[in-house]
Structure formats: C-alpha cells, structure tokens
C-alpha cells in the first residue's frame, strides 16, 4: 500500500509539472516521466514477489501436506494426530516489512489451500477472550458476542465467543459442501473431494514475540482439545530467533505442536537482490550518485534493515530528480531521449550549457567548435544526441566490467575491494578505482592466486561478458575466451615447471584487465551525467532520516528558516525582537544557568517585547509587565516545558530547571 500511496502522490503533482513545462515541450515531456515511474513500479512488484516466492512456496507445500496427512489412516499418523501442525516462520527484525509477506501468504493460502484463514496481531489480543474473538470473527465472518462491551446492542447474529462455536460452525460448513460431492459419486474424484471437504483452518500469528505467553499457552491448549474435530494449523511469525518459541511455551504446551522451521533469506541478501535488479543494470536510465547511494545503504545497515524503506528511498530520489532537474526529460529510453533532445527549448539548452560536466567537455574542444556549441542551438542538439549515446555506452560497459572485477576480487583474502558488489560499486562511483590503494593491493594478491582458482573466476567473468550486448564487451569476451584457451594449452604442455607459466600467465591476465579499467571511471567524469544521476544526498537524508530535536532547535533559534518572513531576519543572524514569543523566551533561557528565576526571565522578556513594539526606551512604561505580556510569557514558558526544555523544580518554588545544556 505504501508503494501505492507514493505513486498516487506522484500523480497528484504531475499536472503542476506539466504546467511548468508546457511552454517549452508540450505533452511529450510528461510521458517519459510517468512511463519511467510506472515501469519502476511494475518492476518493484515483481521483485517483491520474487523475494518471497521461495519461502511462501515451501509454506504452501507444508500446509497442503498437513491437510493431506490428516486424511491418512495408517497407524503412525493416527498416533500423531493430536499434534497441531505449526510453521515457525523466521522473517528477521525488520517488522514493518513483514506485513506485505503475510498479506501475500494470506492470499495464497486462501487461493490454493483453504478458505479458512485468519491472521491475528499481538496488539489486538491482550487477553484470551480477545484472541478468541478475533479468530472467530475472522473465520466465521459474524459478530462475536463479547460480554464486556455494553454499547454493542444485542445482535441476533452474534455468537458465543468459544472454540466450540467454531467447531460447530466448521462441521456445519463442511457437511454442506460435502453433499454435492456425494451426489456426483465419481470414484476417481473421491479422494480429491475428501481432501476438499476438510480444508485446514489456518491461524497466522503475525508477531509471536508480542503475544502474552499466558494467552498463547491457554489458546494452544484449548485448540488441542478440538484438534480431532477441527483441523487447525498455526503459522508463527517470528522476528528474532526460533528459540523464542521455547522461551514462551513450556514443554506441556509445546508438546501439543509439531513445529517446522522456515527461515527466510536474511535482509542483507534481500538488499543485494534489490541492488542487483534495480541499481546495477543499464536497463534503467535513472541512477543514484555515490553519496545518495551511501545515504540509502547506511540507513539500511545502521538503522532499520528494511528493504521496503530502501525502495521508498529510491522512489523518493526518483521523484525528486524528475521534479528538480529540468533536463530529466532526457532520462528515459534511448529512442525517446534522442527524440526529446530535438524538442529541447532554448531555455533548456541554456541549462545544458551551464552543466559543469558540459563546461568541462566544451573546454576540451577546439576553439571553433567551442563557439559553435555555445551559440548554435541545432549544433548543440546534435552534440547532445551524441553525448547521450555515449552515456548509454558507458553504462552498458560499466556494469558488466564491474561484475567481472567483483568476481575476481571477491575471492581474495580479506576482501580489499569489499565483500559485496555494492561496496565495489560505491568505490567506483567515488573516484577512479585504479588509483585506489586497495585496488593496487588487490591486483598484487590476484597475481598470487592459485591457477585453478583464477581460471574458475575467469570462467565466471566470461559468462558475465557473454550476456553483455555492447560491441566492446563482445570483443572483450572473445579475448577472454582466447586467454582461457591459452591457459588450457599451457596446462598440458608445462606441467613440470608449474610455477613459472602460472606467473607469466598472471601477468598476461593483469594486462588483460587494464583495458577493463577504462570502463570504470566515475560517472561524474561523463558529460551530461547530471541528466541521469540524482545527487542531492542532503535532501534524501533530510526526508528519510529526520532529526526532530535539530528541527525544533532550528525553529526556535532561527524562526525565519521555517516561517520565511523577511522581517524576522537580523543581519547578525540573531533572533530579532519581533520573533514569536516562544523564540524570545527560548533565546533568553539559553543565557541562564541550571536554575532559572522566573521573575528575572519575565522582566527580560518584557524588555525585549517592549522594544519590539517600538516603545521609547526612555518612557516610564518601557519594560513594564502588563497583563497581556504576562499571559504571553506564561504561555511560551509552558510551551517550552511541553517541548522538554525546562521543568518545574521542588528546590525553589519560583525557579524552573533547565533540561538542556550549551548556551547562546
């Protein structure tokens, strides 16, 4: 749903962006953006499904298996029939991400295993009665009689809140569906029908840790009393570790369950997939620069482990880019981009001329060409088309080469260039990777690598290159293949003096790598990179990693930052006298020590406010406290107290204590 709301947000602001640009480009400029956005949206959905597919499939299998083994009548399963089949689903600590997984699990179960699925959350089930009520309501779709809610009118449809009600309902339900099966009376389908007559009743506990252990224990022991009539099945959603089950349930209760463990991929693996599919691909024209990437990754690793938040951050960057960069209309598929170049207005072309990367490009040209580029619009458009094509070529070779370099360096001891490909990507985004010290040491280590290891990783490289499409990469691929062939050749010939050939070969290998280097310069070195790369890391950080404390302090110490009122600005940056009352009170309190005398504070306040009202400093009433000023002062003091800057103290009645340190 969050993804949805994001895109609604995007479409809400679409008309305004249209208005802004219609004078230059008309309709066409909007299309690539929305196309882009819808595309990433579809991609994300597919990705989400893919991420959880494996674990959901195995869970479904488990559910199906459980419902079929119940039908078996052999001795062993009869002896075990009083256990409740339970799946312990370990999903990792990023609890907000789980909702989506549970929703798709719920839908899948409903669709392919049983119509009777209900999921419960700990916060709705503080006591046993509420848990029972939630389960009954979810399964039977009726109002459940809950004794202590007086305002609920006597509902004729309401039922008693007990599991026997559920069991009766289930028996009635399955009997009804059984009759048409009997009528048909087809023998082949008999077993099939039998299976469908008693679909399991699945109860999903979304957050096991949150449940009161007592409630859970009682619920399980009640359920086990009905297991012969009611084919129950539990799914426990666990965020921490499976041993939680043992901590929460005593042996007498856990022996009623038959627990099977399902462990989802770790969130870092999820992140790696997302990065692999969305970021390390030339397919998708929108890119993040190193700093933004760094912000998103560090929020993930340091703060929340939430893949969903990472994707949200990506979407935010996407929207910001299209919103703030007028040249983002060129950030789309090749054909459209080339078309859009021809539609650029004079104003847009002026923006192009001011791009730092373009200025650098112009400086490298001959004098005549320079003048042409700066004055002739048509010539500029042609140049832009060429530059856009170059940028695409750069991307097409960048990613395969990056992957190759990663395969080679990821097996080196202590990972000089990072264990994960995202680390290497960050290094490459930052600066020329071959100037990096770690790169040098990696190359040295590579020379010392055992021959067969080197060959296997080179094989992997050639696999990566074989799927690349650009001409340069194809050439590199054939060269690498030749090299591998040579290896084989030498292998047969020089088995006796093993060391020397492998060394020489390594040198050859390094020589092979050096052309690769020319594909990995940072994007900043590319002309027109601003079109595709979003670079405002501060915006992303501000939006995704809010600092409430800093915001409050900014608001209090420089109100003009938020109020955007010129009259509040002082030349020296201090708070002007005409600032809101609370800002003045805040400023004055900064000058005090740990304890603040309220009367002194009030006097100082009255003086400042009088000055703001333009009273004559020599006048008698200047700085006198009247009722209105008094009231305003009291209000701002209580506001400061509410914000947690001061609190009343018992030491001195007319004093308040400061709760923050550092002054002026």
């Amino acid at each position: 749903t969050c993804v949805h709301s994001f895109f609604q947000g995007c479409f809400v602001f679409k008309p305004s962006s249209k208005k802004r640009k219609t004078r230059s480009l008309g309709e066409t400029c909007v299309n690539p953006k929305s196309k882009n956005i819808t595309w990433i949206y579809v991609l994300l959905e597919v990705l989400q499904e893919e991420l959880n597919k494996k674990i959901l499939d195995s869970l479904l299998d488990f559910a199906k298996k459980c419902s079929t083994t119940r039908q078996h009548c052999d001795w062993a399963s009869k002896m075990r029939a009083n256990e409740i089949p339970t799946a312990a689903l370990v999903l990792g600590v990023n609890v907000p991400d789980h909702d989506m997984t549970f929703q798709s699990l719920f839908d899948l179960l409903k669709h392919s295993v049983t119509p009777h699925v209900v999921s419960v959350q700990a916060k709705e089930c503080g006591v046993l009665k509420h848990l029972l009520k939630r389960v009954l309501e979810g399964l039977m779709d009726v109002a459940v009689d809950d004794d202590d809610e007086e305002e609920m009118e006597q509902n004729p449809r309401s039922v008693h809140c007990s599991l026997s009600t559920l069991s009766d309902w289930y028996t009635a339900k399955t009997k009804v569906t059984a009759t048409p099966g009997k009528k048909r009376n087809v023998q082949d389908e008999d077993e099939h029908h039998h299976h469908h007559q008693t679909p399991p009743v699945v109860i999903i506990f979304k957050d096991l840790e949150g449940f009161n252990p007592r409630v859970l224990q009682d619920f399980i022991s009640i359920c086990s009393r009905y297991i012969d009539r009611l084919p129950l099945m539990f799914i426990f959603g666990i965020a921490t570790s499976p041993s939680t089950v043992q901590h929460m349930l005593p042996h007498s209760v856990s022996s009623l369950l038959c627990i099977e463990l399902f462990q989802s991929l770790s969130c870092t693996q999820h992140l790696a997939t997302v990065i692999d599919k969305l970021i390390l691909t030339a397919q998708f024209p929108f890119k993040l620069n190193g700093k933004v990437m760094q912000v998103l990754i560090s929020i993930f690793l340091y703060h929340d482990f939430s893949v969903r938040n990472f994707i949200k951050g990506l979407q935010l960057a996407l929207l910001e880019h299209f919103h703030s960069q007028p040249l983002s209309i060129l950030c789309c598929k090749k054909k459209e981009a080339l078309l859009n170049v021809t539609l650029l207005s004079g104003r847009d072309l002026e923006t192009v001329r001011q791009l730092p990367s373009f200025i650098r490009f112009v400086e490298k040209q001959e004098a005549g060409e320079q003048v042409k580029l700066m004055t002739d619009d048509d010539h500029l458009k042609e140049a832009c088309q060429k530059l856009i094509k170059d940028l695409r070529k750069y991307h097409k070779s960048y990613y395969p080469v990056l992957r190759c370099l990663h395969t080679l360096t990821s097996l080196l001891p202590r990972y000089p260039l990072g264990k994960q490909i995202r680390e290497l990507h960050l290094i490459c985004l930052e600066k020329n990777v071959w100037e990096n010290e770690d790169y040098q040491s990696a190359m040295k280590l590579l020379k010392m690598l055992a021959k067969d290891e080197l060959i296997t990783s080179l094989r992997k490289c050639s696999e990566i290159l074989s799927s690349a499409k650009s001409k340069k990469m194809k050439k590199a691929f054939t060269e690498l293949d030749e090299l591998l062939a040579k290896f084989k050749h030498l292998d047969g010939k020089l088995e006796k003096i093993n060391d020397i050939p492998s060394l020489t070969l390594c040198y050859k290998k390094i020589e092979r790598l050096s052309p690769c280097r020319c594909h990995l310069p940072p994007p900043e070195s590319q002309t027109l990179y601003e079109v595709c790369y979003y670079s405002s890391s501060a915006t992303v950080r501000r939006h995704l990693n809010a600092t409430p404390r800093t915001s409050i302090q900014t608001a209090l110490s420089s109100p003009c930052f938020y109020l955007q009122n010129e009259s509040l600005k002082n030349e020296d940056g201090t708070v002007s006298n005409s600032a809101p009352d609370i800002c003045i009170a805040y400023k004055l309190h900064l000058e005090c020590g740990r304890l603040i005398n309220l009367y002194d504070w009030l006097e100082a306040y009255a003086t400042v406010v009088s000055a703001a009202e333009g009273q004559d400093p020599d006048c008698d009433t200047f700085g006198k406290v009247d009722d209105v000023k008094h009231a305003r002062f009291i209000r701002s003091v209580s506001e400061l107290e509410f914000l947690g800057f001061i609190k009343s103290t018992r030491q001195k009645t007319d004093h308040v204590a400061r709760l923050t340190w550092g002054g002026c």
Binding site: M79, T86, D207, E209, T240, H251, I259, Y302, H303
Partner: protein, 413 residues
C-alpha cells in the same frame, strides 16, 4: 481383570467397556462408581471458560438443553445463574444426581472470588441433587479459599507404576505386528525413558515415533521377531538420541521422521535452540549494548566507565563489597531513557545524530522483546526500560561490532 467394577445401576458389560478405556484405574473407578449412580453430567474445561458466563451456559445446556441457556442475560452474575437453575430444576426435577465435572480446576482460583466457594455449596444454593467434581493436578491446600467454604471429598489418583505404563502402552499395538512384539518394544522404550519421563501422553508419542525404526531390521528380514536382544541393540542408541532431541521438542516429530528416513546425517538437522543468532542493524546493536550496561551496572559507576578523564575515584569507594558480582544474580535493573542514550553515545564509535530512527529503534527493540518497557506506555515523560537478554546473547552481539563488553561490566572488574 473383570469384577472390580460393580454397580446395580449399570450393566456389567458397560462397565467392562469403561474398564478397557481406563486401564489401571480400576480401583479408583470402582470407588467413584460406588459413590455415584447413573450420571447425568456436565463436563467443563476451565481453560476454555474465559468468562464465568461460558461456564454457566455449558452447565445449563448440558442439563436442560440449549433453550435453557438462552435465558441467560448478557454477562450473567452468579445469582442469575442460580435463579435460572432453580427455575429449570422445578420444571424438570432430577431423577438422579447431576454432576458437574470441572477439568483444570486450578484455574478457578483466578476466576471471580465467589465462584469457587459457590460451586462447593452449589447443592445448597440451587436446592438440587447436584455434585461438583473438580479435577486438578495440584493439592487442595493450594485451593482453599479464605472463608466459609465446604471441604470437598478428596480422592487421590496415584502415578502409574512402570508395570501399569507398560500395560497401557501395549494396548496401542500396531495392526501388522504381533502384540508381543509391541509389548517388548514398549519394554525397551520404558527402559530408556522411564527415568526421565512418566507422562503417559509423551511416552505414547515417543513410542509411535520410534516404532518404525525398531521394525526396520524385521522388514529387511535380517532379524526375526523373537530375537529381542538384536532388536534391542539396534534401537537403543536411537532412542538415546531421541531423548536429546524429540523429547525436549528440539525437533518436531515430523522432522524426526524425515531424519530417520534420510538416515542419520550426523545431526545435520539443527534444533530450535540452535538458532539463537539475531541479525540487528548496527546502531540497534549498540543500543542493546548500552541497555545491557545500564541494566547491570550501578548508575554511580557510569562516570568511571564512560567519562574519559574521570579523575581519581578511590578504589575502596568504587568497589563496594556486597554490590560486586551480585548484579547478574539480581537480574536487570530499570533505567531511564536519558541514561540509555548517554551510554549509547559514549560507546558508539562514531558521531551519531539523534535522529528519529534512533528512537524508533528503541521501540522496535521493545516489540522484539529484547527490551521491556517498565513504565506504562502512556507515560511519555522519561520512559523506563529493562534489558531482557542474557549475557551470552549480548556477548555474541558485541563480538560482531568488536566491542569488549566484559571490560565495561562492573561485575567482572
């Protein structure tokens, strides 16, 4: 075996059937039967009765039918139940004693204070020939309400002896094998498990799980049914392994069966408690470390641990004799949010902005039950927490961030 149970109200045949259902309880059953007659009864499980209303409804339904229970008002009181019962009784008077059997009666102690005394005097209250039977696993002394209640008759059911267990378990014999074989199997099983487990249900479960393995040499044709010693040699190590895993539910019965089919991969299957590792975001780890330190170090020692130039703190003053080493024995102590953050900022190695996500991490640690919030959630001002993880857990966490936690713990100084 027959002849223990006799009652004029029952046909002998019927009593014998009951006897088969409850082997080894002939003596107690005989006593109960001699005390009671033909039995109109209501069986109620106290776990299930989340409210007294449910209990009343069950009782009325089983004695007088559903229509009687429908007269109960919403949230009925005890007196309403009594009134309704008396009304119903006058319409259909008891021909024989009516019985209410309450399972897990110990839970009645947590119910309304008047429920248990009232049940004990129910006969008086409703003026009917009614008896209440309480079934419980704990002694009556722990039940007894403070004042004015009738003492029930106590009937003690002793534990099953080994022989009795053997006899009961042998009745489950597998249809395709002889009863003698199953009986000898049970004998072996009890030899291994009797010292640790006397729970009939659990033993039956274990017997069912391991029987296939026991029969393996038979189906393969290596051993004959009579060669019990060989069978014993085959199954014994297997049962010992089962004791360490299935018995304590380390692995589920389903996994155990699969394990047997795939033939011992040297414990390749890890039990539930083997997975104790929890992956946490970087700052969450430090928050957890800070919380642990705040919970187990006395607040006055913070200066010594976390202030760089703390000046001289006299050793004798710092190390109070009885305080030392006792913190871990006494368990975690509550701490305020301020102290947690102060310690957090001094242990984390980089400068961290006090962002919203730091605070949300604290609350997510609470939802994961790694921290516990002591103060009520409504209290926004200075919330208090406790750290609810073990030393092993926190040592593992701090190892991943290269933080030597033992150096910072007062107990280990």
């Amino acid at each position: 075996m027959t002849g223990v149970l006799h009652h004029p109200g029952y046909a002998d045949e019927k009593l014998q059937r009951v006897e088969q259902l409850i082997p080894c309880r002939e003596l107690q059953a005989g006593m109960l039967v001699s005390l009671m007659g033909q039995l109109p009864h209501a069986a109620v499980s106290c776990v299930e009765c989340v409210s007294a209303a449910l209990l009343y409804e069950r009782v009325l339904t089983s004695f007088f039918g559903r229509s009687a229970a429908s007269f109960l008002p919403r949230s009925p009181s005890l007196s309403e139940f009594v009134r309704l019962y008396r009304h119903q009784r006058s319409q259909s008077p008891a021909e024989q004693t009516r019985y209410i059997v309450m399972e897990k009666a110990e839970l009645l102690r947590d119910a309304d204070a008047n429920l248990l005394p009232a049940l004990l005097r129910l006969q008086e209250l409703v003026d009917d020939n009614i008896t209440v039977i309480l079934l419980s696993e704990i002694v009556w002394e722990k039940f007894r309400p403070n004042t004015g209640c009738f003492e029930p008759l106590l009937l003690h059911f002793p534990d099953y002896s080994k022989g009795e267990l053997q006899q009961i378990l042998s009745t489950d014999s597998h249809p395709s094998y002889s009863a003698e074989l199953y009986s000898s199997y049970i004998n072996i099983l009890l030899g291994v498990f009797y010292s640790v487990c006397r729970d009939l249900r659990e033993l039956r479960h274990l017997a069912a799980l391991n029987f296939n393995k026991f029969c393996e040499p038979l189906t393969e044709g290596k051993v004959k049914e009579t060669e019990t010693h060989k069978l014993w040699r085959n199954i014994e190590p297997h049962l010992k392994k089962a004791m360490q895993t299935v018995y304590i539910r380390e692995v589920s019965s389903l996994q155990w069966e699969q394990m047997q089919q795939t033939e011992d991969e040297g414990g390749a299957l890890r039990g539930l408690s083997a997975h104790t590792h929890v992956e946490l975001p970087y700052y969450s780890k430090f928050l957890l470390i800070a919380a642990y330190l705040a919970s187990y170090n006395p607040a006055r020692t913070d200066k010594r641990f976390f202030v760089k130039h703390h000046g001289k703190i006299r050793k004798t003053n710092f190390l109070k004799k009885n305080e030392k080493t006792s913190n871990h024995l006494l368990g975690p102590k509550p701490f305020a949010l301020d102290r947690l953050l102060a310690i957090f900022y001094s242990v984390v190695d980089s400068r961290v902005a006090p962002t919203a996500s730091i605070f949300s991490q604290i609350s997510s640690l609470v939802t994961l039950q790694l921290l516990t919030q002591i103060s009520h959630t409504d209290q926004l001002d200075a919330p208090k927490y406790k750290c609810s993880i073990s030393l092993d857990f926190i040592s593992a966490v701090s190892r991943t961030v290269n933080f030597d936690i033992v150096k910072y713990l007062y107990d280990f100084l």
